[in-house]
């Protein structure tokens, strides 16, 4: 699974909105060997962006040290039910994906 599904939930908490996003990604370091002993090429997410109603609020740069099938949580000030959250990523091989959810 290179870039499989993403899953996100955004919940209104006490004065903030809690966002949790799951991404399907191998996050290969370039140092792991496959069963045939060949090095698996580096393949990892480099950029992660969180938008609220179309406006960027978190811009993350990440390395291959983030675990496989990444899980990230972020928090937004305030927020309201129905706010549209969008998370997108871009990896070192040019692949990308994104997902949307409404604050519940």
């Amino acid at each position: 699974m290179a870039a499989g599904p993403m899953k996100m939930r955004a919940l209104l908490g006490q004065g903030y909105t809690d966002i949790r996003v799951l991404m399907n990604h191998p996050m290969e370091t370039g140092q792991r060997k496959d069963p045939d002993g060949k090095l698996v090429p580096m393949h990892f997410i480099q950029n992660l962006t969180v938008k609220v109603n179309g406006r960027t609020v978190v811009d993350a740069q990440i390395s291959q040290a983030v675990s496989r099938n990444p899980v990230f949580s972020f928090r937004l000030k305030g927020g309201a039910k129905g706010d549209k959250i969008e998370v997108s990523w871009l990896d070192n091989q040019g692949e990308s994906n994104s997902t949307e959810a409404a604050v519940a």
Binding site: M1, G4, P5, K7, R20, L22, N24, R68, N69, V71
Partner: protein, 263 residues
């Protein structure tokens, strides 16, 4: 004098350290459980459930997991159970294999070629298990216990649990037999006791962080026997189903809340 005081201090520190280790490992597990990639496998599994496959080019959507054709709600929590059409007791994976061969017209050989996957490519049984098990969240665990074959399966499972075998003379109880024991840092639940089996069975299948895989109970039986240094138990065999049946029956009454997270 100062040296003796230092030694005593070091001994105290070592004891405190051992207690801290156990507590910190607990915290580690709690933290990884808070965001489970198991949900990603549920998404994949749903797609597989609905995808036409095999010579008959049909999906598994009419598969009867015990609650009627296509009924998923609560099905996992009531397995293993006796199925009249197969005249045998089946767990989820065994039943899925049955549906693949009957509904989809696939050969047993082809359908079991890759029952356990890898991080790069999960097996269809793994993704399907995650999806189907998730439809039992909130349902009480109640495997079949009334049919004579269900009773026989449970009894066989219990006998297998205590059966010492293989190059290292182990039974399941060699590791899962006494309270409060660990392998390395891993606590070992005494799975023939309900209070220990309940929280474990209620969270399988599970995402295993050390291998980035969704692992199933058939896999767990297989890999325990591997570490017990026996030959390999055949996937969906009476042996593996009986052990799963015994463990699940021991956990009955607990509310299912998986798929969970494992080390």
């Amino acid at each position: 004098m100062r040296l003796a005081a230092f030694a005593a201090l070091a001994a105290c520190a070592a004891l405190a350290q051992a207690q801290d280790s156990a507590r910190e490992i607990q915290r580690y597990r709690q933290m990884i459980a808070e965001g489970s990639p198991a949900e990603l496998f549920e998404v994949e599994g749903e797609a597989l459930w609905k995808k036409p496959e095999g010579p008959k080019k049909v999906s598994l959507e009419r598969c009867d997991l015990g609650e009627g054709p296509g009924v998923l709600k609560g099905a996992y929590a009531h397995l293993p159970r006796y199925f009249k059409d197969a005249d045998s007791v089946m767990d989820l994976e065994t039943r899925l294999l049955h549906c693949m061969t009957t509904l989809q017209g696939r050969s047993r050989e082809e359908a079991t070629r890759r029952v356990f996957g890898s991080a790069d490519r999960p097996s269809e049984f793994e993704s399907l298990s995650a999806y189907i098990a998730a439809q039992s969240r909130g349902v009480r665990i109640a495997p079949g216990m009334s049919h004579p074959k269900e009773k026989a399966s449970y009894e066989l499972g219990r006998a297998l649990y205590f059966h010492r075998v293989g190059a290292w003379d182990f039974s399941c109880a060699s590791c899962h037999g006494d309270e409060g024991k660990r392998i390395r840092m891993q606590e070992l639940p005494v799975l023939y006791k309900p209070e220990a089996a309940r929280p474990v069975i209620a969270t399988w299948p599970a995402y295993r962080v050390s291998t980035s895989q969704l692992v199933t109970l058939q896999w767990r039986m297989n890999d325990c026997y591997r570490q017990m240094r026996t030959p390999e138990p055949t996937f969906a065999s009476e042996t593996t189903v009986a052990l799963i049946h015994f463990l699940t029956a021991t956990a009955r009454g607990e509310t299912y809340h998986g798929p969970g997270n494992k080390r």
